[in-house]
Subunit: 339 residues, 6 copies
């Protein structure tokens, strides 16, 4: 089983602890991005996985690739060239103060990539699964086309395709997102999203839901999933359910809908260390467990437990093993010391 | 609108994280003090504000002034001379372990200042508001006199005056505080305090309240405010209401009484990053919103939201903008990431 | 009153904050071990205490001894020689992710110590109390014998003996533990344990308890204590009661049984900074307060409050004074700043 | 006396100590740029100075402005808008390993600024001196035009103009630099450069010099200065003379030529803490001392001493006072502790 | 061209900066060991290289392997099992205070490895070069045998073999070293050492040399190399020449002898950041350049320049590229900033 | 042999690395003072030593005492009370930028101590040596008297007395110093100073010396020593000889004069890590070696080597053992790694 993920990876700069931007001079420099995060998760689960992107020829990009390689992610199909790596600045929120993201991703190498940078037939050799997020086609018109080509070849070569909708309003308008994504979705097997994404990109929403309120509405989620399946014939739709009480405290669960039945996971009450990459770790957990042939319920529980753990780990990447996820499922998260 | 604040600013030395004093060698050196904190808050809200104090001629004081200037606080009326800057050591508490403050503020330049150090007519030029706390007159007999003179001139020149009672038992006895403060209060328009202050300084308390218990008693607070207005003819009295469950977890709200009606704010459940300066940030929020002509309820909500945010920020200073405070009022503090 | 404690002290290496092992290069190097932790607690309570162990002749061990000496712990009976100091790596858990301990303690100087390393008659001169944990006899057959000898001489010389069962499955099997410990227990006056220890070492458990569930069963604990007293004629049995909701949030209380009556302490809801050494700080609190002649209830409250505070302090050692423990008992842990 | 400087300011990201890029996760985030560095130097010398640039509307730029304001630099004419702030990554060299700079400055707000962003007549009100470097016109064709306009108005309004040639080969070719700079130079009074700049931009070089060899050739420098004066009628030309023995050890001195006579400064043997900004601190020292009416020799000594001190200070900015520079001139740099 | 290196890799724990052991709590945790360092150097030069060792099954070892993998070193032949990873504590010296190493490497997995842990025919598939140091056979009698077997198979399969003598007096006596190494040497093609090693292991020394004096004796080095070639029929002998003036300042050069002629390299005056791994980086440079078919003089210059750079880099590993080494050879180390 | 030292100990606050004051928020908090530094040195040499001072009752002072106790210094005669602990801020210089000290030591507990705080007969029980510096009597008139009393009793009880002149111009005028010190000197056996001290306090200087020039004048130093012996009948006079080339680079040696002959030590070229406490470590080395009965030349070499090492260690305290000093004397400081 080999998975290929495709998208942008950025340098992430975070003040230490709960400092505001430049409250002191110290920053933590790590790397991350939706599809790279999925790749690292899968590598940490022991899976073969390749990450495809375009990065410039400079020491910052080298460091990024070296770290991915350290996790065991294959990076031999990364195109090199272009001007720069995207950057995002993250200020960690606390209590009633929300986290803040400042993007500096325009003109990145990947956003200026062209068709000839990627030889999909070569890249997909030996692969069974292709994963991307709604960020990739949003980066440029060329990338929308490249993604479309990749999907076509992926389907042709028999790969399963998953997509995390991941709508980013700073990258494109809802109209543009709807137009582009609607062309890509018919080639997608597994759609991952949260309620906001479905609403933002496709205008699909349930009756009476209130995203900001933090109150879950099970029926509403099933409704959204059904509408998505009706529209794009997805084989499965997974929706993550975040109930945000504060920047530190969230409840976290998810739903998986297979066109017939909706499965709801255990809900975790999280005291958050770092929530960026939480959704990506869910996606990775789901891809892993579906590849392993787990049942819908078990696959969902694995994905939710994996992403619950992600919230306790600094940085975008989910640094957990399959054993740790399974122990969490068994223990229920009581947090006793493991000696 | 220009505000002038007057008082002591100290060097604050804090071990990193939740370390006890000198558990390791690292300390974080910042600056703060009741009136300086109010000035920084106002500058961060975009207001014109001057901070008045006396500081020695040395690189520590230069650094302090440079930081204030960086926030946009005017420091051109800071008197220079004297022996030293006050210092306080702060050990951050956690859970059932309370924070600990060790003061080393005796003999500071401001506590040995004399009348001639401050030309209030000059300082107040173009100003509409004067703010001080009960710490300033407690620092020395001379400072009590200087504060008295400042108030007289402020009233003469038509400034609104606010005072945060801020009783510090290590600086003076309750009797001395009552005697001195009672002379100053008649010139104060807006009185800010917590229940303990009113009781410590003026012996004013409600029937049946229990400060340590952490249980709020709305009627009691109204009673205290009424008594204060009766005694000193304040135009408004604001009382902050802290319910302390542990060093990490507090509920935070406030009351504003305008002589006729008492307004109670929304209550925030805070997971605390740093609570020092919480009261000061409330005062600044109230001064700002009253200056902007907000209604009593709106002014109070702004002040409480601003100070709720302060509890999530390291150091004495409230590093938040008006936008951030207003976003909190709107969102209610669910802490979703702002991308 | 002088106490002697005997056991292993290790170098502890912890990533900073909530980092996973080697997520970055920084580690915090401190020292700790069950009996050393008890010694430091007692020294911080102002008591005379000696710690006995064996350490190699190298700068790491020197640093360890210098730190103990800084707390006022006597280290003049520490044997020197052997190959190495034991090490343990601790990764701090958060929320649903448990803390992780990797031991590297084999071949340590203490585990290869021999009878002639310790002259117990000399060591016990002027002492009234001897404390050890179930880790010490688990380290080697020789140490089991040395502990036996120490106990014999302690009883001969009239010392009170306390033992914290502290079962470590990586050091010995339950069968071996039962065999060795059963020989030592008749010389023990005060037995300290948690429910798991009693079950693991002696197969003593209450009916219907579920340790993982985190739900307390008062009757069950009394049953366990009674069985222990029945079996080994302990004068007192203390059981710590940890209810683990997550790696960050635990409830913490304890029970003391004197052969006739069971006393239950106040329960503390802890937001944890560092829970390693929590049990040791309870033991130290109990030893201290029993030595001071406190009543059973008061002794228990002191021990629980002391160990509640430990959970708020980085490192193995409980860096609190008697005053701080007593203030916590009085205040109930509301965490107000102490100015 | 008021000076205006105009150019780019960037976020600078540096690994801690002598770490290579991303050897660990920690980075130090500061700000700097040729003209901003000059402005900060002058502010630290107690002079009135304004820095003009264009910066985006985001918290990173706010932090940058707040720091400049903390030094006392006026930032009220900074245009706001555009996409991003330029960034440069700096890896500090040691011994035989050179420092490494990775630029990520394309598409910065200043490089996309237009004529209407700056109202030079307003900006120059009350000013006597205008300073820029060869980096500013290199950033874009528009900026070359804007610089030209600024110079015209500066001359019209009677300001003295200084320019540091500062050739950057990654920004433009030598041919382009020569073409653009040749149009600007006739309006410049004081030209600051090193030997490489004169050669790179104008093809002016002395006979027999060897920049890499690190051996000084006094006659050659005079020859270069004379040619520059002949070509552009500068009133003065200053050339900094760096002899680089290793990344840690440089000799540092300078020459000032007034069209008639060449003055050479004392030479400092530097053990370098951070050499970035060394040339800028020389420029600032020269501007300051010429403004103060110092003699050519004294002005040069001040500038060289000021920049010698810069090499001992972390970050781009020269954090030294006039007193400190003068003490260095007096003491000759023996480095005795100042108690 | 593929190289295989075989030996121990240890966890290295270093206080920050120039702190003495445990002067504060912070330690830097990295990994290193003679043969691993060579492997990382070669990977950084872009070469295919595999490192062979034995490591325990725990998160510390995982981190170690992940870092090696990040550099591109193949770790698929690393045996897993045993008790522990070796550790060494390094205190960095300064000026007249020498660096200090405390080893805690006994009982490591590699030192308890057995023949069946390594399938050399499999490991050497596709390889042309095998490298080990004198540390490997010193770790245990079994390892001496394993090394012997590895060498036999390497020769059989046509690999070139290099050995760095690397005598460690804490691992074995000179007599034992001589006995074991004398059996291995006939299978070695390239012998790398410093003057002390040749003397310690084989009693080979030149007349009149004085290692401690720091004065080079070219003839003496040639004499030593000749004697080594005479005794073991090495094809080449390389000797590194360190002249130590202080813990910070060393001169560094080397000699290569090909049985006929001795080549001496340029000498670098180093201001040291971290000298551990200096010799290993020389070995790697030599292996690389000989594999590339460089002339003796060029190979030697490359190796010396590579290792000169190592002295400027924190940690055991030489984090430099071929380009950087070649730039140093060209520039001679003047340390100008690379923009 | 037991030594008693008497003086002030202060909290020392230092920015990290070569940062200027408050360039960032991080400070390193350690403790030190002339006589405390001598006490720690002696304890590190394995000697019995007591440090006498007065400290306030607060956690800062507790930490200070705990650290001294960790080194093995007896602190049972430290008086407790008063307002505060003295503080000094130290900014580390580099190259041509000198270190900077800002004192905040007025009103410290020791400077307000009175005669009854110290029972010298009790303190000196079992002691043979008393050491103080010229700082102690400079702190207040009372301290001058207390020092006088201490000296009288010391002589009465047969202790050898040593004094380091240590003139501090911020504490007293040269006239006052001369007056007070002249009364104390007749009771001193060993006088330690540098050339500046002798000149500042007693107006004793050699002909033609130039302290700032950094050039040694052996005859001049002998002349100064002779004049001191003539005036006060010291048994021995030791003069430290610092040649300061920059804040990083000093040469360091010393002279010992026994009334008949002058001995000059080896000279060390130091690359400085932290030079504060250099003189104190010399004093301690001399006291130690004279107590051990070393010859004048050997005692001097030991003292100079010990203090050379001090310059390589962060903080005021000299953290070296007798072995390390002796190894330096043997090796001459070539700085080879000690494995």
């Amino acid at each position: 089983m080999k998975t290929v993920t495709f998208g942008e990876i950025m340098l992430r700069l975070t003040p230490t602890g709960y400092m505001r931007f430049f409250q002191d001079q110290n920053m933590v420099g790590t790397f991350g991005g939706g599809e790279a995060n999925v790749a690292v998760s899968l590598a940490n689960f022991g899976e073969e996985v390749a990450f495809v992107t375009k990065l410039p020829q400079n020491p910052i990009a080298e460091a990024c690739l070296s770290q991915l390689q350290g996790f065991g992610v294959k990076v031999n199909h990364v195109a090199r060239g272009g001007e720069r790596m995207g950057i995002y600045f993250l200020e960690k929120g606390a209590s009633c103060r929300p986290s803040k993201v400042v993007y500096d991703r325009a003109h990145s190498s990947i956003s200026t990539a062209c068709e000839s940078d990627f030889d999909w037939r070569e890249i997909f050799k030996g692969a069974n699964w292709f994963h991307f997020t709604g960020i990739t086609p949003a980066l440029s018109d060329d990338l929308a086309k490249i993604t479309y080509s990749a999907l076509q070849i992926a389907k042709e070569m028999g790969l399963t395709v998953s997509c995390d909708l991941n709508y980013r309003k700073k990258l494109w308008s809802k109209e543009k997102a709807c137009e582009v994504m609607s062309k890509l979705m018919p080639m997608v097997d597994l759609c991952i999203c949260n309620e906001e994404d479905a609403s933002d990109v496709f205008g699909i929403r349930s009756t009476g839901s209130d995203i900001e309120s933090g109150v879950l509405n099970k029926e509403g989620y099933i409704e959204v999933a059904k509408k998505l399946v009706d529209k794009f014939a997805f084989r499965k739709v997974a929706i993550t359910l975040r109930e945000s009480f504060s920047a530190n405290d969230n409840d976290w669960s998810a739903m998986l809908y297979d066109g017939e039945k909706a499965y709801f996971s255990k809900k975790y009450s999280l005291h958050i260390v770092d929530r960026v990459g939480g959704g990506d770790s869910f996606g990775a957990g789901l891809i892993y467990s579906l590849q392993k042939g787990k049942s819908n319920q078990d696959a969902l529980e694995f994905a939710v437990a994996a992403s619950a753990l992600k919230h306790t780990i600094e940085g975008d990447y989910n640094r957990v093993s399959v054993d740790e996820v399974e122990n969490l499922i068994k223990s229920g998260g009581s947090g006793r010391v493991q000696r």
